[in-house]
Structures are given as C-alpha cells and as structure tokens.
C-alpha cells in the first residue's frame, strides 16, 4: 500500500503527517496521526456530525474529507476554539446547562455552534435547530443543548 507524507494546517499549527495511507479520512489523520482526538468517529458516513470540523470557513464532516486533499486548507477542530486550552464560552454554557451527558457528540456540536455564531451572532431558535440538524445526540433530547446556545447568544449580545 502506497504511503505518503504531507502537511496539514490545523488550528494555526502545521502538522507533518508521515507514512500515511493516502486514502485516510481527515478524521482518522487528526485522531491517530496528529494527536487531536477531539473530533469523534461514529458513523463514518456523514450522518452523525460527531466529527465536525471547519475547513476554510465551512463546517463539514471530517470523516468524509480525504486528508491528503486539504493540504492547502486551514482546518479548525474543537481543540482550536478555546483560548489557550481554556474552555470557550460555548463549551462553558454546554456544561452549565447540562448539555453534556455521555459527551461523545459534544465536540461536533461545539464546532457547529461556533461556526453558526460566527456567521450569525443572533440566530433565531429555528436557525439554531437548522444549523445543528446535522449533529445527532442520543442522550440530552436537545433541549439543554438549545438552551446552552441561546444563553451564549444572550451573553454575547448583552
């Protein structure tokens, strides 16, 4: 099997990826080769959103991105959202509101919420539900997650 070396730019840092099988997904490369296990792998077919990352301003499922095809892109993962390893306001709100239970879907939600609020600082409830419709949570029933998002919006706008 042919392997290859290439560089990815993740959270403003360059990561040298060595001896990678070239068909590996970005999700796999982030977790297993770049030491960034924040994005979670569940369905590996773009249905659950737990691997959501932002690539050049677009929130996508990293399981459906061929890592070797995004060597010229800027990638942001959940690890790159908080200031210097501290929690972001979105992460804090998820904890405060009980929007985290088993936690497996949480990183994908956090990335999707940051991405939404960057584009739209005052989303309606409908906008929030639409923006998070690609992220599946089997624990919370979504109510506390939505409440966390609305709390962030209120705080940021007060």
């Amino acid at each position: 099997m042919i392997t290859s070396s290439y560089t990815l730019s993740v959270n403003g840092r360059r990561h040298e990826i060595d001896d990678s099988w070239i068909g590996e997904s970005l999700l796999y490369v982030l977790r297993e080769r770049a030491g960034l296990p924040g994005a979670k792998g569940a369905c590996e077919q773009g249905e659950c959103g737990s691997c959501t990352v932002v690539i050049d301003g677009r929130a996508v499922c990293s399981c459906l991105v061929m890592a070797a095809s995004v060597t010229d892109s800027e990638i942001t993962t959940v690890e790159g959202l908080g200031p210097d390893g501290a929690l972001s306001d979105v992460q804090r709100a998820f904890l405060d509101e009980g929007g985290v239970q088993c936690g497996f879907c949480t990183p994908g939600f956090i990335v999707a919420v940051h991405h939404l609020l960057e584009r739209d600082p005052q989303p309606s409830d409908h906008d929030v539900r639409e923006a998070l419709s690609g992220n599946i949570c089997r624990c919370t029933g979504y109510g506390r997650i939505l409440e966390a998002v609305h709390n962030v919006v209120r705080r940021r706008n007060s």
Partner: protein, 280 residues
C-alpha cells in the same frame, strides 16, 4: 494510490491525460463512504476542490451556468435559489448542513444514483452538461448523460465542468419522500416545471427507475387539455388522471428502502401536489 490537487482546469486536464483512470473526488460525500465502509481503494485520486473555476456560477442571458463544484449550501438560498427554485428545494433536502457544505452538483452527476436529489431537476429543466477531458470539451443533454444506475456517458478521462440550465418564467418545485423528513435518501422524488409563458410542463421522477424518468405522456395529456399559461388550475379530474399517468410512467423496484407499490403511489401523489402548488 496518490492524491492530486490541481489548481486550475489546465492542470486538471493535464493530470487526467496522464491518469485517465484516476478517480474524481468532488465533495467526498459518496467516495469517502465507499473508502471508509466499503473497502474501495482507488489507485489515483484527483481532488477537484482547489479549482476556483469549478466553484463559480454565472448568468448568461436567460441561462444559468453552475460550476460542477458549487456546493448544495450555495444553491439552497440567495440568488441561485431565486434563479433555480426547484434546484434550491432539492438542495435543501440533501443530507445535513455539513453534507450540503461539502456535496456538489457535479458529484451528484459523477455518482449518478437514481436517488440523487439534483438529477430530477436537471432532467425536468433539460439541463446541458458541460464536459471536458484530454480529448477536448463537449456538451450533452442530461437525458444522454445518465445511462443507468450509477452509470453515465463520461468517457475515460472526462469530467463534468458545469451544468447549464434555462431560467424559467413560471413555477418549478421539487418534492421527495423518504423514511423520515430530514437527513434521508429519497425513496421517491419528483421535479415539476410549469413554464407559464410558453404553456409547457416538464415532470421528472427520481428513485423510481434505473435512470431519471421524464413523464412525456403525462405532460402531453395535461398540455393538450388545459392551457397552462392560464392562472386557473386544471380541474380535479384532470389532476387525478395526471397523477395516474405519472405513477404509470414510473418503473420502481422493491429494495431495502421501499417497495415498488409504495414508490409508484408516492410519485403520483407528489406530482399532483406539485402541480397544485404551481398555482399559488
């Protein structure tokens, strides 16, 4: 296996000349599933994501030209949605926001699944598919492009550059049914275009045959009995018969997603609904 990332169409053409059998990577929402879950191991992959020319759309006269790498997210709202409302409706039914940010119309054409949401729209609007390759550029109608289940008439080395559509004066819409409302692959889908200037109608069905099915008999039936330029809708009797002809045009199968009977029934209902909606 290697991954090429051409910067422009000239680089793409050159790479495809050297590696005509290479696998095209558009939004990745089909190919990566095959690699992740179904053991597909292509030798050479060429990623189209870095080619700016393929990400543009333009209006030329009364026609709309959409680059093959324009993502669904761009079609579902804004100017593109106003110019091609049925395409926007189809785009909004594709997967999740993450999938719509990645997936493209060109990818739909490359995969050519009968359930591809953009394809009934291209069939009903009689889109022209612009193709390029090592032997030069050419165009083909959508009807001649899709040849079977996951089959198209692209020759070795060729790729889709853009889709060319008319901007229709009238009403157009897309509807689909699946096992739930969101995040679902169509078990049956319909696109209906009513050109109220010329009094013509076009209906195309998805996921109920090996290719997208145009319903010429049902279209002719209605056009001959009702002036579609008129703002009054056809009467209930005509609408019912229209639905029966649509259902009769479908060629569905039983599979893991649905039964043939249900699909045949569903396209009739969807087409009637769209026809009624076309008289707001």
């Amino acid at each position: 296996m290697s991954v090429a990332t051409p910067r422009d169409l000239a680089e793409l053409r050159a790479f495809r000349g050297e590696h005509p059998e290479s696998t095209l990577l558009a939004g990745g929402t089909d190919l990566m599933v095959e690699i992740n879950l179904h053991g597909r191991r292509p030798n050479h992959v060429v990623s189209l994501g870095g080619i700016a020319e393929l990400r543009r759309w333009t209006v030329v006269g009364e026609r709309l030209r959409i680059g093959s790498m324009v993502p669904w997210a761009e079609m579902e709202r804004g100017d593109l949605a106003r110019l091609a409302p049925a395409l926007a409706e189809a785009a909004r039914t594709v997967g999740s926001p993450q999938i719509r940010a990645a997936g493209t119309l060109g990818g739909n054409l490359g995969t050519c699944s009968p359930a591809g949401d953009g394809l009934p729209v291209l069939a009903a609007l009689e889109a022209t598919i612009e193709i390029d390759g090592p032997d030069g550029a050419r165009s083909t109608s959508f009807a001649d492009f899709m040849t079977g289940v996951k089959r198209n008439s692209l020759r070795t080395g060729e790729y889709v550059v853009a889709v060319d559509l008319p901007i229709v004066d009238g009403w157009q819409g897309y509807a689909k049914v699946g096992t739930r409302n969101a995040m679902v692959i169509a078990t049956a889908s319909v696109c209906l275009v009513r050109d109220s200037r010329n009094g013509t109608l076009a209906v195309a069905l998805g996921a109920v045959g090996p290719t997208i099915i145009r319903c010429h008999d049902a279209e002719r039936f209605l056009v001959e009995r009702h002036d579609l330029r008129d703002s009054t809708p056809p009467n209930d009797e005509l609408v019912s018969e229209f639905g029966r002809l649509i259902a009769g045009a479908s060629r569905p199968i039983d599979d893991h997603r649905s039964s043939a009977d249900y699909r045949r029934h569903a396209v009739g209902v969807l087409a009637r609904r769209l026809l009624e909606r076309s008289y707001p």
